[in-house]
Symmetry: C2
Subunit: 601 residues, 2 copies
């Protein structure tokens, strides 16, 4: 059994939920009226305990001796995940947000995901199995027939069966509309044939069955996105009475050998090799991509949560190490007195970067989940619209920004530990290997950037984007004086730079300069991410300033609030100014990369 | 046997050597008078061939099935390295630069390292064995007695014996002056006792003997750096007649399990467990750290070469993939026509970043090696001084800047390949794992940054720094007009920003603001690196512009020169502006990270 590297606490989680986002407001909506804050806390506290005591000890094992394996045509999940699966079943932790009709807990997303963040810090590989069944079940619950719901949802929600999302084909990664898997009507069902790759948990031995949601093209369907339909394809057929039938001609051909996430089975799948793979059509023909996109959006938000979860525990580990490791003398001290490395300004800078990002990413992602909850639960159309707008705008920012930053943050965490950080004795190098997929799956950073620039900022006449800008301008206006004045000014400077780029997109980067849009979009996304995080951290600083005045200086909350204020200032003054550099590069309007003939590369 | 991922060519290597640095000037010095350019080319061409045909096929194997192993108290190097060792012996590739008296080839560093760059692209893990013996031999040749030289150098230079540099102790990584290993005089020799960690190739089975250069403290020596001496400690004792004697009480206790470089044995060593470990004192007592620093500086420059080598092959692999992989439609094209991903502007941007950095890092490092050659070979005192100044100034910039950038560049390379980039089928994820040690070993990035800011820029009244600045100012003045005018202006803007920070270090960041020096030093180092690379690439662009006018447009050189000009413009307009963002952050003068009490973290 590996070391238990789980060193997080829950203070900032509760700060964001209660003091910043004030999620108790959700209790006022009918959807959540049966809950109390105590219910929410019970789930979160249980998640933290299970993450720390049960999941975290598997982290290093499932990277090494107990990886996902492919043997004799079957996939075996890490053996230690069997125990975790049982714990999840006993505590009903699979379907925290899904409908109560089929056994889900019906919790708000923001609560469920706060709980899930602890699981992800502990060992994200487990989540690549546990999260799939409920995720697929939710699609079936949304779009399936009553019979399909009755057949599948309860067992996907309680962990009896697993799930998989079968989208990508060898030739169609980002080109989902070009998939070639086929479906032919056969009575009530369809015969499905095709190959899929990069299918997370497409096969494993944790459950008696795995339900694949497969995108395929019905015979005779139109080309392109509108010809793609969604099918529920169980690996073992499910009879009408719910009992298991015969094998459904779904085979795993192999699993990928990857940089990280060795505990997760990334499967190459084959459907209908013997013409005997049957599937249920879910919803309307031709709507497959639209339905699947509900799941893709969930996955994009989840990337933000994964990055926050990783960063939080990297920070906690780096902090603990820095407090203990003695090395070097304090800068400027000629006495030769050795100090713990936490006393070195450079180590402080790295730690503060990790702290500010851990908190900033958390705020960004939780706020997104809260919007989603409000969009679902609100009875007020204007509030619903505002929440939906915000969620749509922020999804690409969250996915793109956090997944690029986590790579840099892992490097910083390793750097704090020096040579030991490069060894597998400590967990950070594994987080670095595990995280690198985040900027790729569920839409690469570029896909996010083009979604942001090409669609989201101009959506509904710029309604969502303008609402965000107005919110920040109001914040800046309210804090021009006082302790946070330099930070409000830094936010304003970055915001002005970002708005100038947005203006360029609208009026300058057109015609023969149109390629400047895709050439600069990912940098613009980074600017938006930096600004969004700075804004949220500054909002938190204002709250922390008020709250700190209410507690004694020797109360742990006082130190926490002071730390929150420091996170905001540090981020605004040390990280946010990078936006100025990004703007300076965009200002150059350089098209060398595209005008260069390919043969000169 | 893994795939052969080696896809580099040698065109830019020869461009830098011949057209940019004009290394034929070295032939005019007595030290190199016996060589011709044809001799240099023969070595480089041979290196490229061996790298591609022999070393590269081992790259993935030594990461997986044929790693360094520790079994029953002994270390086994990857088995496939035995064949490479024989090839290196047959072709005399171990000691390319070392003295000819003991069988070295006496080549200029800049030539030898150009050859070595190919080896490093192919499989750097092999170099962690092959480079150590000659490196230790060079120290002995510089500082040892005639007897010591006769005993050790020839066999370290021809690969009969290996070498290891035993500096770091568990409690003294960056604190080399605090080492506790002991040496007690015993006749002609010393009895050495102590423990060392992170000893690269401290034990292996590729050679019949391994000579450790061990830093230890002679009984009664003063505390601190001045009490540290250097000892040659062979694992098997060497009799006066050169024959091998008994085992010398040197044991490997274990090897580290690391994120990457699995082919390299990172050893925990124990000396004198049974009181029977003898060593030769090298040079004067108390001079150990000074001697060792010669080796450390070699290792720091080598990091730059490693980063250039990795980036060059990452670029070559990403380029080949991007030319073949079809995915998505061109931005703005509504026809739905799918294109190879090299046609996507974002992919072009990533490829150009890789290309510009590969070439820029190469120029930066080769220029450093040329300075070292001139410093050794020149008969002119002013020229020698200028070269020594430049080398001293650039060593921390090269080590610190390249080792931080390579992490980002690996991410970009993986991103070009999408999901496939995350798999072990392609080489880039392995480069990412292998490279992460570069920002740590031989002095962390912060150690480099403080060396630069605290010592090098002010060294000799700022002589080296000012000479560099004057060189750049002259370049900018000469190119204010013409095709490169925007690039010269961008360089000037970044230079002005950097000089303003240097001024702050001298006059503002003092007294109670003194901590702003260590808080900002690594960002200043990044600025210096960005500026240095931009300057060198622009110098190359000027050369390429002139040269391109001399060749037909259908000659391969024409495409190469056009590509060189594009690299310079791309870097100056897309990468260099980050310096403006770094300056903006330094301008904030934020000390939050150090003023924050530790308990608030």
């Amino acid at each position: 059994m590996g070391n238990n590297h789980f060193k997080r606490d829950d203070r900032d989680v509760y700060f964001v939920l209660k003091e910043h986002l004030k999620i108790d407001r959700l209790l006022g909506h009918k959807k959540f009226a049966d809950f109390t804050m105590a219910d929410f806390e019970m789930v979160i506290d249980l998640a933290k305990k299970i993450a720390r005591d049960e999941i975290a000890p598997t982290f290093q094992d499932t990277d090494r001796d107990d990886c996902a394996r492919f043997e004799n045509g079957r996939v075996y999940a890490p053996h230690c995940f069997r125990k975790l699966w049982e714990i999840f079943r006993e505590s009903s932790l699979f379907a925290l947000t899904q409908g109560q009709e089929y056994g889900g807990q019906g919790l708000p997303l923001v609560v469920a995901e706060a709980a899930t963040e602890f699981f992800m810090s502990a060992n994200f590989a487990f989540g690549t199995y546990s999260g799939m069944g409920p995720g697929q079940g939710a699609i079936i619950e949304s779009y399936g027939t009553q019979k399909q719901k009755d057949l599948f949802c309860a067992k996907l929600y309680d962990g009896t069966w697993g799930g998989a999302m079968a989208l990508t084909e060898p030739d169609a990664g980002s080109d989902a509309h070009l998939i070639t898997a086929k479906a032919v009507k056969d009575g009530e069902y369809y015969r499905v044939t095709g190959s899929k790759v990069f299918i997370t948990s497409g096969d494993h031995d944790l459950t008696e069955n795995i339900v694949h949601l497969v995108l395929a093209r019905i015979e005779g369907a139109p080309q392109g996105a509108k010809g793609v339909s969604l099918f529920a394809v169980p690996m073992t057929w499910v009879n009408d009475d719910g009992s298991l039938g015969a094998a459904n001609d779904v085979t795993c051909v192999g699993i990928e050998h990857k940089m990280g996430l060795h505990g997760s089975a990334t499967c190459q799948m084959s459907y209908g090799d013997n013409g005997a793979c049957r599937g249920h059509l879910i919803g309307e023909p031709g709507m497959g991509l639209a339905y699947m996109f509900q799941m893709v959006n969930v996955a994009r938000m989840a990337v933000g949560l994964e990055c926050a979860a990783f960063t939080a525990n990297i920070y906690a580990n780096a902090l603990e190490y820095a407090k203990q490791r003695v090395q070097g003398t304090r800068y400027g001290d000629r006495s030769g007195k050795r100090v713990r490395i936490i006393e070195h300004p450079e180590v402080r800078r790295l730690l503060m970067t990790l702290k500010a990002y851990a908190e900033g990413m958390r705020a960004l992602v939780y706020r997104g989940y809260l919007c989603e909850d409000i969009a679902h639960a609100s009875e007020d159309d204007a509030e619903k619209q505002l929440a939906n707008d915000s969620l749509a705008l922020f999804t690409p920012i969250i996915k793109g920004f956090t997944s690029e930053r986590i790579w840099e943050l892992c490097s910083m965490g390793i750097q704090v530990l020096g040579g030991y950080g490069y060894t597998s004795e400590y967990p950070i190098e594994q987080y670095a290997r595990d995280c690198k997929i985040f900027s790729i799956w569920d839409g690469t950073t570029y896909v996010q950037a083009i979604d942001l620039v090409g669609r989201k900022i101009g959506m509904n006449g710029g309604r969502a984007f303008n609402a965000w800008i107005d919110e920040m301008k109001a914040f800046i206006a309210a804090h021009r004086g006082g302790d946070l004045a330099p930070d409000a000014a830094a936010l304003e400077q970055a915001l002005t730079a970002m708005l100038e780029v947005a203006r360029m997109y609208a009026v300058e980067f057109t015609g023969d300069k149109a390629d400047l849009v895709p050439l600069t979009a990912s940098r613009f996304l980074d600017m938006c991410g930096e600004i969004a995080v700075a804004h949220l951290l500054l909002e938190q600083a204002v709250i922390a300033q008020r709250a700190s005045a209410q507690v004694q200086a020797d109360h742990p909350d006082y130190a926490f609030y002071m730390g929150k204020i420091a996170s905001a200032k540090f981020f605004a003054r040390n990280v946010l100014p990078a936006a100025i550099g990004r703007k300076a590069a965009i200002d150059m309007g350089d098209m060398t990369a595209v005008t260069l003939p390919e043969e000169y590369l």
